[in-house]
């Protein structure tokens, strides 16, 4: 028995195989976000990592108050993406650890020349996760990662929150690595990511205000703001174009079922007493799109039916009677028409300008008509721009917010 116990004791160290892979937290540099750019020269990949500065990231804000940043940005070059990661070790005192990364930013040059070489490593390396957000920028990834937020100490956390919120608010469809890869592997080999930009919003707004005021305003100069509002389209692992804010919102209807969003349009009641126009804003609470391909006489057409539940959040049209079912029906019809126009606009852009199926028609055709798909799949690039489509939308207004009718105002501005 004693012999056995001694033998067990002797064997215990061999069972503790974790010893080889032990990683002390104080010797790790946790990457929160990383970006990849393409640069000229022998080592074409530039990797930029945003690392939480250990002393400040845990709430010990002494350094932040003293002017130190809560994050550190480091860069390294390499022949390949993995080579750049490896080279990062030569200047980091701590082991650079990617498992806690939240997002990946792809630089414009890299996106335009092709991202195929980095995708393999992103899938193969055990430290990268498929749930990381993926973004593209129209600048360099390094610039984006070096830029901070005023309300958030760690920028990657701020961007993560923007992306999480944006789906709910219907502003843009955030894309994680997994969805990005799956779409690239899909039938049309077209995928997309949100576009992150540095925009000088404050300067734009100040100049508009100066125009109104007619004099220069006394306002302090503020840094540019990180903004995520547009979408970048990739085809065969290469960036081919971008969608503006409205098109990005419309894209959500075609590739997902939006859970939030806004429709704003100008409205004048048909039987209006005074015929005045005003803006109406609807908040979409639940949207659903059904895309059905139809095949007849060797021609393919696509039927798109959108249904949305909405509530009125602003009705500035004067004299509008929201309690009147006829008026509500008109509001709904006009909202549906606005939505339809937005969807037609993006499909037209995909067909005529981008010439790539970012709206996912190929997947729908493949799933519903697999035999017909086999006939057209080799020529899909030529066929897609010629496909006819029909969009029909239905918007149902379910509530009118905290009030129903706005009280009409008299000419002097007072309430009648």
């Amino acid at each position: 028995m004693r012999k056995r116990a001694l033998m067990m004791l002797f064997l215990v160290p061999f069972l503790q195989t974790g010893c080889w892979d032990t990683r002390e937290v104080d010797r790790l540099a946790s990457v929160l976000a990383f970006g990849i750019d393409r640069i000229p020269g022998n080592e074409p990949i530039l990797l930029t990592v945003q690392i939480a500065t250990p002393d400040t990231a845990k709430g010990g804000n002494k350094d932040v108050k003293a002017g130190g940043k809560a994050f550190t940005v480091m860069s390294s070059k390499g022949k390949t993406f993995s080579d750049a990661i490896h080279n990062l070790g030569s200047r980091s005192m701590r082991k650079v650890f990617f498992s806690h990364s939240k997002l990946i930013v792809l630089g414009k040059d890299l996106a335009e020349t092709g991202i195929g070489e980095i995708i393999d490593d992103l899938k193969r390396d055990r430290e990268f996760r498929r749930i990381d957000w993926i973004l593209t920028t129209d600048m360099t990834a390094k610039e984006i990662l070096e830029h901070g937020f005023s309300m958030e100490q760690i920028p990657s956390k701020g961007l993560d929150q923007i992306l999480q919120e944006s789906k709910e608010s219907g502003l843009i469809l955030p894309v994680n690595c997994n969805d990005f890869f799956v779409r690239l592997n899909g039938d049309s080999h077209v995928s997309f990511t949100p576009l992150v930009q540095l925009v000088d919003i404050d300067k734009q707004m100040t100049s508009q205000l100066e125009e109104v005021a007619g004099r220069p305003l006394e306002s302090e100069v503020k840094p540019k703001t990180l903004t995520v509002a547009k979408t970048v389209i990739y085809k065969n692992q290469q960036m081919i174009g971008e969608l503006n804010e409205n098109e990005s919102k419309a894209l959500m209807w075609l590739v997902d079922s939006p859970k939030g969003g806004f429709i704003t349009y100008t409205f004048a009641p048909e039987a209006s007493t005074n015929g005045e126009k005003g803006k109406i804003s609807l908040d979409i609470s639940d949207g659903k799109t059904i895309i059905t391909p139809q095949i007849s006489d060797n021609s393919i057409s696509i039927s798109i039916v959108c249904n949305a539940k909405a509530s009125i959040i602003e009705a500035e049209t004067v004299g509008i009677d929201i309690l009147n079912p006829m008026i509500v029906a008109q509001l709904e019809a006009k909202a549906a028409e606005t939505l339809k126009l937005q969807l037609e606009q993006i499909i037209d852009k995909a067909q005529k300008e981008l010439k790539s199926d970012c709206v996912g028609f190929a997947e729908h055709l493949h799933t519903q008509y697999p035999v017909a798909w086999k006939r057209v799949k080799n020529n899909w690039e030529d066929i897609f721009p010629t496909i006819e489509y029909h969009v029909s939308c239905e918007v149902r207004i379910l509530n009118t917010g905290m009030i129903n009718n706005t009280l009409p105002t008299n000419e002097a501005g007072g309430i009648n």
Binding site: L11, L15, W20, D21, K123, R126, V182, G186, H366, T367
Partner: protein, 364 residues
């Protein structure tokens, strides 16, 4: 009989289930998706049906030769020499499966969790624990599985449900895109992995109710098919067939997809728990079956002295035969199915036919 232990039907069910769970957590789902594409889940259903059919034969043979496992009744049917030649194939097959299971486990741990740890150390640790359990006999293994089995079943089902937000059912369509051929090829491919449940023939003589053998296998294979089917289906709906077929362990990748806001994520350690537990218990029962089979063929009084040598042979096979994960994957994909279908289905059906033709029966 070298094994004196007695198990009940529920223990028998969990013993068999654990063997299938260990398969589901490794690279088998990706191999199946590579062959059967989007129809992989149908192949799992097909294999479940065929395996239940096969279970009827095994259960019938268990009743026809009461108190005998297939090593023993191959001697009864085919005689002293030919019977032993056929009989030895079963224990050797179990040793081969044990090698595959532990190598697969070691490879996943080495690739995804402990990259700097030499794989040999992981393998030695696994074999040591497996042999230790296997040497304690069937009752110890059975009691372990009775606790771990339900835990694993619920964990895998829960893992799959948690991954639903990342799943898109459209990725499962269209079915039969390439005709029925992928489904037909996929069915026997996954059947050979379910077929490891021929271990039931080793358990039936030791159960307190041998007539429940079919019920045990039916329940175990049904639960196993649910687990393999869920992992396969969710791999397709989450990653699409193009990515899922290239993954080393799709189940592990699924667990890495789980994230609910910022509070529930990185649950792959739970998957590692299932992986290590199920693989070690499965390999311990395979080592036990190997030891018992050889002991019965050679007429030894006890199988226990054979467990450690068996584990050692298996370890050497792991290191020598599969120096890299590539050889292991290729073996599982191309060679193992041929060997397995021969042993699991071919040999048993030959014995079944021989027993009927030669009018052989066991003695009570």
């Amino acid at each position: 009989m070298p094994e004196k232990g007695i198990i009940n039907t529920s223990q028998c069910i969990w013993l068999l289930f654990i063997v299938i769970a260990s398969i589901a957590s490794m690279q088998i789902p990706s191999i199946l998706i590579l062959q059967a594409g989007r129809d992989a889940w149908l192949s799992v259903l097909g294999a479940w049906f065929l395996d239940v059919m096969l279970a009827i034969v095994y259960a019938y043979m268990g009743i026809r030769f009461p108190g005998e496992n297939f090593v023993q009744y191959s001697i009864t049917i085919l005689g002293k020499y030919l019977g032993r030649m056929v009989g030895i194939l079963f224990p050797l097959f179990f040793l081969l499966v044990c090698t595959i299971v532990i190598k697969g486990l070691g490879q996943v741990i080495n690739t995804a969790f402990l990259p700097r740890t030499p794989i040999d150390v992981i393998l030695i640790s696994c074999f040591f624990v497996s042999a230790l359990i296997g040497r304690k006999g069937i009752e110890v293994i059975a009691r372990m599985t009775q606790i771990l089995g339900p835990l694993y079943f619920l964990s895998i089902v829960t893992l799959c449900f948690l991954v639903i937000p990342s799943a898109h059912i459209i990725r499962l369509k269209p079915q039969f895109d390439e005709g029925v051929a992928p489904f037909i090829i996929g069915t026997p491919l996954i059947l050979v992995f379910f077929g490891v449940c021929i271990l039931m023939a080793m358990y039936i003589p030791l159960t307190n109710r041998p007539e429940n053998g079919f019920l045990a296998k039916f329940s175990a294979v049904s639960m196993g098919a649910i687990v393999v089917g869920l992992i396969t289906t969710f791999s397709v709906v989450c990653f699409g067939i193009e990515d899922a077929q290239t993954m080393y362990s799709p189940g592990l990748q699924l667990s890495r997809l789980i994230h609910y806001s910022n509070y529930l994520e990185r649950v792959e350690m739970l998957f590692l728990l299932i992986l290590v537990g199920s693989s070690i218990v499965a390999s311990s029962s395979l080592l036990w079956a190997f030891g018992l089979g050889i002991a019965q063929l050679t007429g030894l009084k006890s199988y226990q002295p054979l467990i450690y040598p068996g584990a050692l042979i298996s370890l050497v096979l792991c290191i020598v035969s599969f120096p890299s994960s590539l050889q292991h994957s290729n073996f599982i994909h191309y060679t193992y199915p041929i060997v397995a279908i021969f042993v699991q289905t071919g040999l048993e059906l030959v014995l079944f036919a021989a027993a009927l033709i030669l009018h052989k029966r066991g003695t009570v």
